[in-house]
């Protein structure tokens, strides 16, 4: 492409002695000088960073030729930056960095601790055989069946949970134990185990509760005495006392029955210690139905809501667990039967396995929802599984007669009847046009080994599987119920009336002068008439 023909301009200029720069570089010696000057320029140290361009280019090219990345020209700037970074770090290396103890390593320590088999475990095993083996559930087997439906945690995590459950059983006096599920939270998640303790062991909670009640009653009595003394001392006018008597508290259900049938232990991650959740009270369930809050992951976090939730996050979690269990724990129909044949009414809470259960084929379990039944009693509107009349308890109170008057005034609460225990799930109501449950088989390609899977639409995240005699329920989700409409928070109650209005305090218009004169005349006439007839007057107010 250069000028080749003698008539083209610039022909011959590339010969030495004829280039356009001849006057600038007269001889080869000078070219060497120019190169030296250029190199000296490149070797000039930067005043800011102490690097020089020559060394930098040398390092850059060395790195590129060593690593030989593809399409180097596209990332050359990044490589240059990296080389400069490396320089910087090396120079500051007189002090050694302390090894960062990442939280990763701590967590790994905890997980490793799970694998350690205790020395005393053999003794434990002997004890267990005497008391009746607590059944450690086969978490991996359940995880396998749920995995066929695409539900479940990673295998590693399932195994860690398996080991943590084993630790839990060794520590607590547990009769039966089950992996209930996982509830997600904002900062941390909850792993939940459903257990039944040996009889008599759960009594610690009750005793502690009773002691609290006694001390509270004593405190109230003391307060009452103080108030009376105060009244005697100061007879000044006090603001009117509130006549509001809160409705009597619905007592919570005993441990081992109804909503408190099982005890729940939670932990944030497998490897962390298990914490026992307190039993749930009906007030907490009633309030939990009205609010919808995310869990933060800390059990002592307050639940800020309206209506104010009576408790902290541990109570809210327990209430949601109770609702989810009551709503979504199902088993194949006929697997459980009532313990006492006569107790098919609401009173029955005891069920036992039916030895004559014939598992229906998977196809039938998928197609007909009548082949599944709830085995947890539903929760009534009161917040309990078994209805109780809260006014009956108030007989024990030593209050004045006001209580009895109130009882007569307030309406009798309607006794609530819920569905009996082993109801078929085909009777669950759907919401609008969404059925309460969705059933499907895990695979259509290999029907002989498929598993029947149930998904709840009312509590998204609740699943159940059944195949042959094996079945289980599990929950993975955020812990909230599904509602087709948006959640509307409860409105604040109307402002309380200050005082009852009656004729004694209603304002009336003052009588005018004429009215007063007329009144006086009428009074005199009436007086005159009274002497005659001796009747009582009637005062007329205008």
């Amino acid at each position: 492409h250069g000028p080749y023909q003698p008539h083209e301009p610039g022909y011959g200029l590339d010969q030495p002695g004829y280039s356009p720069y001849e006057d600038e570089i007269p001889d080869p010696q000078a070219r060497m000088l120019a190169i030296k000057n250029a190199k000296a320029y490149l070797l000039k140290t930067s005043t800011k960073s102490g690097l020089n361009l020559y060394d930098h280019f040398a390092n850059l090219l060395t790195k590129i030729l060593d690593e030989q990345p593809t399409n180097t020209v596209d990332i050359i700037e990044d490589i240059s930056k990296d080389v400069k970074w490396a320089q910087f770090r090396k120079k500051m290396d007189t002090l050694r960095d302390e090894h960062l103890i990442l939280p990763t390593f701590e967590a790994a320590e905890k997980c490793k601790a799970l694998f350690v088999k205790e020395v005393g475990e053999e003794e434990h095993e002997e004890l267990d055989e005497e008391m009746g083996r607590p059944s450690l559930p086969n978490v991996m087997e359940t995880a396998f069946y749920f995995e066929q439906a695409g539900i479940g945690l990673d295998k590693d995590e399932s195994y860690y949970i398996f080991l943590s459950l084993k630790n839990l059983i060794n520590v607590q006096p547990i009769q039966t134990c089950r992996f209930w599920g996982k509830i997600l939270g904002l900062e941390m998640n909850y792993i939940i185990a459903e257990v039944q303790l040996h009889e008599g062991e759960g009594g610690e909670e009750e005793e502690a509760g009773e002691e609290e009640e006694e001390t509270a009653a004593e405190e109230e009595k003391e307060m009452g005495e103080d108030e009376e003394e105060g009244e005697e001392k100061e007879k000044e006018a006090e603001p009117p006392k509130s006549t509001y008597k809160p409705p009597p508290e619905v007592p919570k259900e005993e441990n081992g029955t109804g909503t408190n049938k099982y005890i729940y232990f939670v932990c944030n991650e497998p490897g962390k210690p298990w914490v026992k959740l307190p039993p749930v009270t009906p007030a907490q369930i009633v309030c939990a139905r009205k609010i919808k809050k995310f869990f933060t992951g800390r059990l002592d976090a307050p639940v800020v809501s309206f209506p104010p939730f009576p408790g902290n996050e541990a109570n809210y979690l327990r209430a949601q667990i109770a609702r989810i269990s009551a709503g979504t724990h199902v088993s194949p129909t006929g697997f459980y039967q009532f313990a006492n044949e006569d107790e098919e009414e609401d009173e029955g809470d005891a069920y036992e396995e039916n030895p004559e259960f014939e598992p229906p084929p998977v196809v039938e379990m998928v197609e007909s929802l009548a082949s599944w039944a709830h085995h947890v009693k539903g929760i009534l509107k009161q917040g309990r599984c078994f209805w109780i009349n809260p006014f009956q308890k108030s007989e024990e109170n030593e209050e004045e007669d006001e209580e009895e008057e109130d009882r007569e005034e307030e309406e009798e609460q309607q006794e609530e009847r819920g569905l009996p225990l082993l109801t078929l799930i085909s009777e669950d109501e759907g919401m609008k046009n969404i059925p309460a449950w969705t059933a499907e088989a895990s695979t259509n390609l290999i029907p002989q080994y498929s598993v029947a899977i149930l998904q709840s639409n009312r509590w998204p995240g609740a699943y159940a599987f059944a195949t042959g005699r094996k079945f289980d329920n599990i929950y993975f989700g955020w812990g909230h119920k599904y509602s087709p409409e948006s959640h509307t928070p409860a409105l604040p109650p109307p402002a309380q009336a200050e005082y009852p209005s009656g004729p004694a305090i209603t304002e009336t218009v003052d009588p005018t002068v004429e009215e007063e004169m007329a009144f006086r005349i009428a009074q005199e006439e009436a007086l005159a008439g009274e002497e005659e007839e001796g009747e009582e007057e009637e005062v007329e107010d205008d």
């Binding site: 990345p69 990332i75 990044d78 990296d82 990442l102 939280p103 990763t104 701590e106 967590a107 790994a108 905890k110 997980c111 995995e147 066929q148 439906a149 695409g150 539900i151 479940g152 945690l153 990673d154 295998k155 590693d156 995590e157 599920g181 996982k182 997600l184 939270g185 904002l186 900062e187 941390m188 998640n189 991650e269 919808k292 809050k293 995310f294 609008k432 046009n433 969404i434 059925p435 969705t438 895990s442 695979t443 390609l445 998904q455 639409n457 998204p460 995240g461 993975f476 989700g477 955020w478 909230h480 087709p484 409409e485 948006s486 959640h487 928070p489």
Partner: protein, 275 residues
């Protein structure tokens, strides 16, 4: 999530309990490479699964040379046979926002507009079409909304070239553990909305090749993202609370990241009450 790293990625996302059965995984492993071959995509992402009442939709996205260009979306009911979805139009988006409730699981199901929004129904009948929306349109609109509102990538993972096209950053080594816990290290992978509203000081610190997207810091409402370290602190999992079911994972100091949606396809409008 990248189709090639699907098994490892699904293991990292499984903390929420949702995943795929072995049958579906195997089917995806076979059908996604075929998708790449047939449609000549450069990258294929498994977007996730929207659960309907009677069946689930499995969604895949295909990307061309410019990763920020509108992506082609495909859906399948069984992870084997994929159908291309048309791009979303504004009209579809507006109509789909009116629809509430679960997906039915049948792409030809028709929602009757007359019940929901009489005006829109009237408009449609005037223009000669029936006042119904097909579930397929709702699906397209939902996927578009989810991608726009909560599809996220780590900072530095993508670079914008001077010509305007976006590529993966081959020099991305992963976020450090400290950076990975901050909301400002993640960007929405969609057209930026409030990039220009930053102060001059902030703009001076930005690197225009990597900071060309909105970060999650200023999302409204505050607190609509939950960042957690899972698996003993080795994976950072970011979950969206606005669209429950969207899970993003990233292993710090490595190039692994991705997001997937396993859920019912409904926006969580109760979010302000729940925080």
């Amino acid at each position: 999530m990248e189709a090639l790293s699907l098994p490892a990625a699904l293991a990292l996302v499984a903390g929420g309990g949702a995943g795929l059965s072995p049958e579906r995984r195997a089917a995806l492993g076979a059908s996604l490479p075929l998708l790449q071959r047939d449609y000549r995509f450069e990258r294929v992402w498994f977007w996730g699964c929207i659960q309907g009442l009677r069946g689930s939709y499995y969604i895949a996205e295909g990307l061309g040379p410019n990763r920020a260009a509108p992506r082609s979306r495909l859906y399948s009911l069984n992870c084997l046979d994929w159908s291309l979805l048309t791009p979303a139009t504004k009209e579809m988006l507006a109509l789909a926002e009116q629809l509430k409730g679960r997906f039915q699981g049948d792409p030809s199901f028709e929602y009757s507009l007359a019940e929901i929004n009489a005006e829109a129904a009237a408009k449609l009948t005037e223009s000669g079409r029936e006042p119904v929306i097909k579930e397929e349109a709702r699906l397209i609109a939902t996927i578009e909304q989810i991608d726009r509102e909560v599809g996220i990538v780590p900072r530095g993972a993508f670079v914008k070239t001077p010509l305007g096209s976006v590529h993966e950053n081959r020099h991305f080594e992963g976020l450090s553990l400290l950076d990975a816990k901050k909301l400002s290290s993640y960007f929405h992978f969609t057209e930026p909305v409030n990039l220009k509203n930053k102060t001059l000081q902030e703009k001076a610190d930005l690197d225009p090749s990597t900071d060309f997207l909105d970060s999650l810091e200023h999302d409204i409402p505050r607190g609509s993202w939950s960042i957690q370290l899972e698996k003993g602190g080795t994976v950072v999992v970011v979950r969206s609370l606005l669209w429950l079911g969207l899970t993003f994972y990233h292993v710090p100091m490595t190039k692994q990241f991705g997001y997937v949606y396993f859920g019912t396809g409904e926006k969580n409008l109760d979010l302000p009450f729940m925080l």
